[in-house]
Symmetry: C3
Subunit: 473 residues, 3 copies
């Protein structure tokens, strides 16, 4: 039905570079950064992979079922999650790997113009030497090749980190996580290269299922009275320390809005009482999250852990999908976000605190030039995180650099995060970022807005050092 | 006063194409789509034109007084609607055609850089062979030429459809419309090429003047008890069927916001009771519209008619204009729109329903990347309509493609709508869309993000087939 | 630490121009406007400079401490305002000029890619002949050179106006300002070239410290009973006349939102009573400002003064900075702004009033295409001000022209404002605007969207005549 892509232009070495006089500048800049090590300070890879270092199971489990970008696009064109092999809670059968893989391959044209297409092309080439796009024609052969290759030593998870030149990678665990895999990694001397991140949404967000039980569990783990505000904060202090032992340099907070609060002590205790009694309405739950963000900022100013806020996703917008298969499968949608008014209480208290570092991520691009860049261009604690989620794409990065650099400069940016669950896409994503950074800088040089020497320096900074600086690595 | 445009570059065949290496690719792509038939699934042409097939009256009535883009621009520079010949409700005299035309021509420089300029240049060339821009110098001669030519057989409305290679065109009628002209068209065997669209704002929006009378009239037409919720919905069911007999494949809904609701039956009846008693405040009227959108979605899931939502216009912002001359004369202004929270009730129920198709149109470009593309990239019912109204322009199309494609892909786009009241501008508008699509694709090819074969396929899809697919034609 | 910029590309004559075929068009357009006189109808230079015409004190006082763009960027990277020599309210010592200047120079790389970098490079070249960028190496020598040169006749404030070819410049004074310096200027025959602007925020905004005392003082100055609404308006009428005697052609209004109101007389008096009694809550203070904007519009329709609204800044977001050093030092951050609903009461009354002119400025770029362009493309009173504050930059201007021109045209734009407190940056800012305008027009010409003759005309208009027309100069 759909004509095949011509293989000749597959992964062209000049891809994404600007046309015209800036092309040679972009090439030169890219050559200077293409082989820098990868620093991956925020992401969602599974620590079990690295602790156990066992082969991945099959092609579909690697490229299809865990990739919500891919699943959602196929679903949007009427291909059901059953047919894509996404497991159901009720255990009813779904398509098997090869069947789902064929469907994916036969619909690969749907990804034309999307970052998924670039990531997957790159990953298939990086890991399996593919030199033409996935298609209905090569689906079976490729499926067999991948499954055969997965047991090879160079495709074990730790070997992938080596091949991809990953200097450091952070995973993300909830506050109650036992960090079992990180303990195993510590015994192997791998903490440092692999690190956890403290993401306490399970005990800071009353909208999380099991929140009240989680607070009780937090008390058990830490020996603190988490029904008292001081005890709750002390419990966080202890968990943060425990996470730091497993390499954590940062915390992460997923919140629907950027609202923060700075309440008097009595109000905080009342808020906690109401939360534990299940008495909070939607506004109360929002206020609880808001106050907890400010508390986390205070602890960061104290212990030096870098705070990340990922604000503005409306989670699980499809109740049927949630009921049948659970979260993180493609039905989370961005919302408008207000950082200026939302963060005011937190920043008024800690914005210029000496030891404090806060990295902001947005799904609302209208905040780049209006809010994030002006804020990061003033407060010493703030850095702007790279384009997040739907915006981590070529054009998304172009809009980001276009809108933040003039007001925030280059040195208030946090470099790149791949933020991925897909191990093999890590080099692809960093490569795309580096290409787009070089493109942007090359255009500035071509317009005589930046010297080539500065461009080279900034290219290296944004490709590598900025992430280390931002995360105090 | 203002120097004339030089005629030599008038309608240059390379207009809008990118400079540099992508130019030849754009040319090649454009050649492959330039002559495809026009599919116009949403617009506001007058069905009487096609049913009666009589000549248009004069140049001003053709190009000036019905074109709110043109009127508003002249008004913004202090040229009153009286002087432009826009009729008054009180019947007081306004300028005559030639006088208004001269004023338009003398101020044609105001349209530099606007889409109106491109549409009018193209239309004047298409219909009257003009090879230089309208100006004070050629105003009179052109006025005479147009008026002389209007009676020629090749400028009768049906002949214009032929010359413009229009395969199918949809008009838009309210629920109470008798569809007289479509009946005449049916007798002539023209339904199919010309179709109506069901736009029930007259009976779904309590803010419409005469709303309560309209509900009574709806009862009379359908024989249903429209004071009962079930009867009201049944009446819609009947009207939709009647519209389908006149070729309708779609419904259309003009709403100030994208709010939807999914209330229990008792609340719906109470809402209707209050609406018919005139007891609804602004929030209640909003809720009525919100519930009606969800009802319409349910009926679409049932009868397969494609649902269109045009959300976010604040209508009639100039009370003086409204009082003196009525609506649709240029004083409607876009507002911020929230699709994510607004559509949640409707999509939670029907978002992945098998027979349901919903096309969304926005006037708030900040929703492209933040809301519409992520939503259309998940829900199987959703398609993103083309840039609407103020954004249906070269740069508007560029921003649209830039911001939607990476997340929604090409195949969740609904192709092009000309959405026009101006018959002669239809080929101009489709040509502009095709040029911009080819430009966008050519740049992707030049950056090695897309093969030329895929680009050709997508160019044809977005120029022609996407509209047929989206509207189930 | 950071490599120096290479001097060879310093202020390249082709800077900011497009690459490829449009380059020569941009050059040609720019040559035709580069030397036009500067019209600066809105800004914040100190009238004492022109009235007294005394030398500036030192390099840091000229380039560093008054420039909040520069201060905030250095502060964002952890360089405290103490070390930058920004005076404290408590009189505790801060760094001296040379020390602060060295710090600025050593961190000049932070400004890569920012407009500050372009403005300062240009200013240092314009005033002191510098041909390489500021750096740690040349900091001391440059500091000495600047301080030595400041007493030279060609660097006195009035001489700078001559050298920069400034035809007219407006300062901005509050309603209670005695206009002492403008009186002195009037005696010297300089009113006309130098003009004041009426900015009555001190008596229209109940959130201004000392508001109630200011209203009393306004009564004393004008002899009106400012506790009565009619008296308050009459007092404005008198102050506006007094400002016009000092050359004022415009008023200016700095407001957090674009809210306006049109209340009945009794409500207005009650609002004033409550304001004077200190009884207004936040919503009441917002309503007071909202009503005052409509009153000011009424007075402008009466006396012909051009009204400017600068809406959407959240002022003084850092309470520590405010307490220690005061306002206007870099901690003001943009907020989302709603012009459509906000301005509705004002425009419903005065939007097409014959003598009324309103220029709107936004910090929320999402309003360009969605609100400002559609509004300015309808109401005859409206003009869109140039990109403001954080958006007055190369990419900011590109986004502005991209998003406003197609709907508002070129002739509803107000030309350029430099809006600066930094005298030496005035030619730099106008030059940047002219370059970007020529770039935009050159790209339109290269795409065959505009004839070269029209582009030349529009380039001259936006560089010079538009500001004179918009401000009735």
């Amino acid at each position: 039905m759909h004509r095949e892509e011509q293989g000749s232009d597959f992964l062209n070495p000049d891809r994404l570079f600007p046309q015209g006089p800036a092309l040679s500048i972009a090439r030169e800049l890219y050559e200077s950064v293409a082989n820098l090590p990868i620093v991956s300070p925020h992401g969602h890879t599974d620590p079990a992979w690295f602790a156990e270092n066992r082969p991945f199971t099959d092609a579909a489990a690697l490229f299809l079922t865990p990739d919500h970008y891919v699943l959602r696009m196929l679903q949007s064109q009427g291909i059901s999650y059953d047919r894509l092999g996404v497991p159901r809670k009720d255990g009813r059968p779904v398509a098997e790997g090869r069947e789902a893989w064929r469907l994916f391959a036969a619909n690969y044209h749907l990804f034309a113009g999307t970052p998924s297409r670039m990531w997957i092309d790159h990953s298939l080439n990086f890991a399996f030497g593919l030199t033409e796009p996935l298609s209905a024609q090569n689906a079976d052969a490729l499926y067999d090749l991948i499954n055969k290759r997965l047991a090879d030593p160079d495709l074990l998870p730790l070997a992938v980190l080596d091949r991809a030149n990953v200097e450091v990678i952070a995973t993300t665990e909830f506050a109650l996580d036992p960090l079992t895999h990180h303990r195993a990694l510590k015994e192997k001397g791998l903490i440092g290269r692999i690190r956890t991140t403290y993401r306490p949404d399970d005990v800071t967000d009353p909208d999380v299922p099991g929140f009240r039980e989680n607070i009780v569990r937090l008390a058990e783990i830490t020996g603190e009275d988490t029904a008292r505000w001081e005890g709750l904060i002390e419990a966080h202090r202890k968990r943060r320390a425990a996470f730091r032992e497993m390499g954590a340099v940062a915390t992460d907070h997923g919140v629907p809005s950027a609202a923060t609060a700075d309440l008097p002590a009595a109000d905080k205790q009342k808020l906690l009482d109401d939360a534990l009694a299940g008495r909070l309405d939607a506004a109360g739950r929002e206020l609880f999250r808001a106050q907890m963000l400010t508390e986390m900022a205070g602890l960061s100013a104290e212990d030096g852990m870098v705070m990340q806020i990922h604000a503005g996703s409306r989670r699980n917008t499809d109740p049927v999908l949630m009921a049948e298969r659970g979260p993180n499968l493609g039905a989370d949608i961005p919302m408008r976000t207000d950082f200026v008014n939302g963060l005011s209480p937190l920043l008024s208290r800690y914005g210029n605190a000496e030891n404090f570092r806060l990295i902001l991520f947005t799904l609302d691009e209208s905040t780049y030039a209006r809010e994030l860049a002006p804020m990061a261009g003033y407060w010493s604690s703030l850095r702007i995180g790279p384009p997040w989620w739907f915006h981590d794409s070529s054009n998304g990065i172009r809009r980001y650099l276009d809108q933040v650099v003039e007001t925030a400069g280059f040195y208030n940016l946090a470099g790149f995060n791949d933020d991925t669950r897909a191990l093999l896409s890590i080099p692809a994503r960093h490569d795309l970022w580096r290409r787009e950074v070089c493109r942007f800088l090359a255009l500035l040089v071509a317009e005589h807005r930046l010297s080539k020497a500065s461009a080279r320096e900034i290219a290296a900074y944004l490709s590598y050092q900025a992430a280390k600086d931002a995360y105090k690595l």
